[in-house]
């Protein structure tokens, strides 16, 4: 890991004098290890805890807490105080990747939407699941909560928008009018209008209170990925497939301003009315921040490790949390900019392949390692660790939340059953499993994988551990 150093906690006049000197050096663009003042080098603020790519971020209205959702099927609730983030609770209930998270304003509740089409309500006081309801027939791609916290809206890849009652998670309205998958939803600032956008480039408006509509607000031609209501009345920010970031008038449908044109799709946008900030990120890793007052640019960052599909503006308004293919939500301090900005190295598991890897190891690293480790530590990944999997009965590894189907299974994992799993596919071998349907029909590749697993799951010297150590 590169980057941040926790501030010294020593007290006394000598250390106070040292900190003063360090502050003066920092102003001059210099830094002294171990003597970094808080303002020059904040404590590590990256949110580290997921075992798969972070797909969603939300910052609580008071700025003191954060939520992240990940490919690892989990939601993490963070306290983001001045001494660095504290992982309060890792929530597990979804049967697929978590694609959207939102705090419910004026309450101790939060919502998460998943690729499994379900919406979950979490109690952040008791740190327990309140309820989870199935709504969409496909993944939930977008989630919004009304300003009063009474209603939630979800955008589904089943081309439907749903308005939910937050308290009961009952679907109030199913809004059908989109011709393509719905990517994003946003409530107007007063909560009376719900906007939704789809892959065909249309923005529709619905009456949040009774589901009436739709009214076509705008047609971009290219698909729209993100929506965000702006502090100004009747203003909506859109981010599109063709890289456009635009502000549109929700009454006339006219383009008020084009903020940017990118080479890659816009994947994320977040607005902080409290701090007067807008941040946008793209599939090429570009992150830009503007002031909503005069639309002046406050900063830009090129994240070198791929797309950025989740953003959150920090509670103090000085920085942005962002996430892409890595397992962390990273923090970038926007104001004041640092003279030397470092980015945590985020290498996707499938790229951690050593040059001398054998054919079985290649299969594992490229196709399995995103969800499974080979070490005793499961690493919070979407699937259980495969450590000592041979000879183990399916669904019995302690600490992993297996599906009921796998718990009931009588399969004992060995060369034959693992080969069958990949020949027929998990859904055929264990109907009802959470494991995605993957098959390896090539017998040579399948045999190589099984042979590698048999050897590698017995040892702690795992390839991903070696590669992680090598990349440090």
């Amino acid at each position: 890991m590169t980057g941040f150093v926790r501030p010294s906690r020593q007290n006394g006049p000598f250390f106070a004098w040292c900190r003063l000197c360090a502050a003066l050096l920092a102003v001059a663009g210099l830094a002294v290890d171990g003597l970094r003042p808080v303002n020059a080098q904040m404590p590590g603020r990256d949110l580290l805890g997921h075992g798969g790519p972070v797909r969603a971020i939300d910052i609580a209205p008071d700025g003191m807490f954060a939520l992240t959702g990940s490919f690892d099927y989990s939601v993490i609730f963070w306290e983001t105080g001045p001494d660095g983030p504290v992982l309060k609770k890792r929530f597990l209930a979804h049967d697929a990747a978590v694609s959207a998270v939102r705090f419910v304003p004026r309450s101790w509740f939060a919502l998460s939407g998943s690729d499994d089409g379900t919406l979950a309500l979490w109690n952040l006081h008791t740190l327990k699941l309140e309820r989870r309801k199935k709504g969409h027939g496909a993944k939930i791609a977008g989630l919004a909560v009304s300003p009063d916290g009474a209603l939630a809206a979800t955008a589904g890849w089943d081309k439907v928008v749903r308005i939910w009652d937050v308290a009961t998670l009952e679907v109030r309205y199913e809004l059908k009018g989109h011709r393509g998958n719905v990517n994003a939803v946003a409530f107007s600032r007063d909560g009376s209008i719900l906007y939704s956008a789809d892959t065909n480039g249309r923005v529709l408006a619905w009456q949040a209170g009774n589901g009436a509509g739709p009214r076509v607000v705008y047609n971009h031609g290219w698909g729209i990925n993100v929506l965000a209501a702006l502090p100004q009345k009747n203003r909506l920010l859109i981010g599109a497939l063709n890289g456009d970031v635009r502000i549109i008038d929700t009454v006339s449908g006219e383009i008020v301003r084009t903020l940017a044109r990118h080479d890659r799709p816009v994947l994320s946008a977040v607005v902080s009315a409290r701090h007067g900030l807008v941040a946008v990120a793209t599939g090429g890793g570009q992150i830009r921040v503007w002031s909503t007052g005069d639309w002046g640019s406050l900063g830009a960052l090129d994240y070198p490790y791929g797309p950025v599909w989740a953003l959150g503006i920090s509670g103090d308004g000085t920085g942005v949390y962002y996430a892409g293919l890595g397992d962390a939500a990273l923090y970038w301090q926007v104001t004041p900019r640092r003279p030397f900005e470092t980015v945590r190295s985020e290498i996707a598991p499938k790229s951690r392949l050593s040059a001398n890897a054998g054919p079985g190891e290649k299969q594992f690293v490229r196709k399995c390692s995103i969800c499974h480790t080979l070490s005793p530590d499961g690493g919070n990944r979407a699937g259980p660790t495969l450590y000592k999997v041979f000879g183990r009965r399916a669904g019995t590894l302690a600490g992993y939340p297996f599906s009921d189907a796998l718990k009931r299974s009588t399969i004992v994992w060995n060369e034959e059953t693992i080969a069958r799993l990949f020949y027929e596919g998990p859904a055929e071998v264990v109907p009802g499993t959470k494991m995605p349907l993957q098959r390896m029909t090539n017998p040579e590749e399948r045999d190589a994988l099984v042979a590698f697993l048999k050897e590698a799951t017995q040892s702690r010297a795992t390839p991903e551990k070696q590669d992680q150590e090598g990349s440090r």
């Binding site: 790519p53 490919f71 990747a97 690729d115 027939g137 496909a138 993944k139 791609a141 890849w157 089943d158 998958n181 892959t199 480039g201 047609n219 971009h220 031609g221 290219w222 698909g223 990925n225 497939l241 063709n242 890289g243 080479d263 890659r264 799709p265 994947l267 599939g283 090429g284 791929g306 797309p307 599909w309 293919l325 996707a348 598991p349 499938k350 490229r366 196709k367 399995c368 995103i370 859904a427 995605p436 349907l437 993957q438 098959r439 390896m440 029909t441």
Partner: protein, 197 residues
């Protein structure tokens, strides 16, 4: 070895959607899925343009980089194909693609629930060429028959060209010499990193 590319001449597309229909029919693409579509920008206004869009089979395809389970791959001819056996339907390729090409059917004859579907340049997939299983999963393998993608083959205005990148770019260059640059070959630079854009 030829490097296969698509080129859409934005000055010639008349939004007839024949390419969309040809693709659906030739590959028996299920209802609700369009591997190719025609996007019209500034619809009904000055500067209106239509562009036929599908997977452009990019030189440095971002979908390959983001796929967490290594489903997507390049052929020797530069065509970007994928294995529906390995796809887990996460949608990361959709988010990374600058053309919105990856589609995710829920049900249908292209594999099972949630498997990604996209243009194959009429080149099938990893199964044996022109086998039944290849057709059911990926559609027609015209390339194995020595033919180019049907969408471009039957484009009446030849707005959509497909084939060896050097050949199609030369055809476009001759057009530009005759008529001027016009609206350009939309997406060419984005897909092929500025080569000939």
């Amino acid at each position: 070895m030829a490097r296969m590319k698509f080129l859409c001449d934005a000055d010639r597309c008349i939004e007839c959607n024949a390419c969309v229909t040809a693709c659906k029919n030739e590959n028996e693409v299920p209802w609700g899925i369009n591997r190719r579509r025609v996007v019209t920008i500034n619809d009904g206004k000055p500067g209106e343009r239509s562009i036929s869009v599908a997977c452009m089979h990019c030189s440095d395809a971002p979908c390959i980089a983001v796929c967490p389970v290594d489903t997507i791959y390049n052929t020797e001819e530069g065509i970007v194909l994928h294995s529906k056996d390995l796809c887990i339907g996460c949608g990361y390729c959709f988010y990374s693609c600058p053309f919105g090409a990856p589609q995710f059917p829920q049900v249908g004859n292209f594999g099972t629930r949630g498997k990604m579907d996209k243009c194959t340049f009429c080149a099938g997939g990893p199964e044996n060429n022109n086998s039944d299983v290849e057709f059911k999963k990926y559609g027609r393998n015209r390339m194995a028959e020595g033919k180019l993608p049907l969408c471009a083959e039957m484009c009446s205005t030849k707005a959509l060209l497909a084939g060896d990148g050097d050949v199609v770019s030369n055809i476009y260059r001759e057009r530009v010499v005759m008529r001027g640059f016009g609206a350009g070959a939309w997406g060419w630079g984005r897909a092929y990193q500025g080569q000939g854009s």
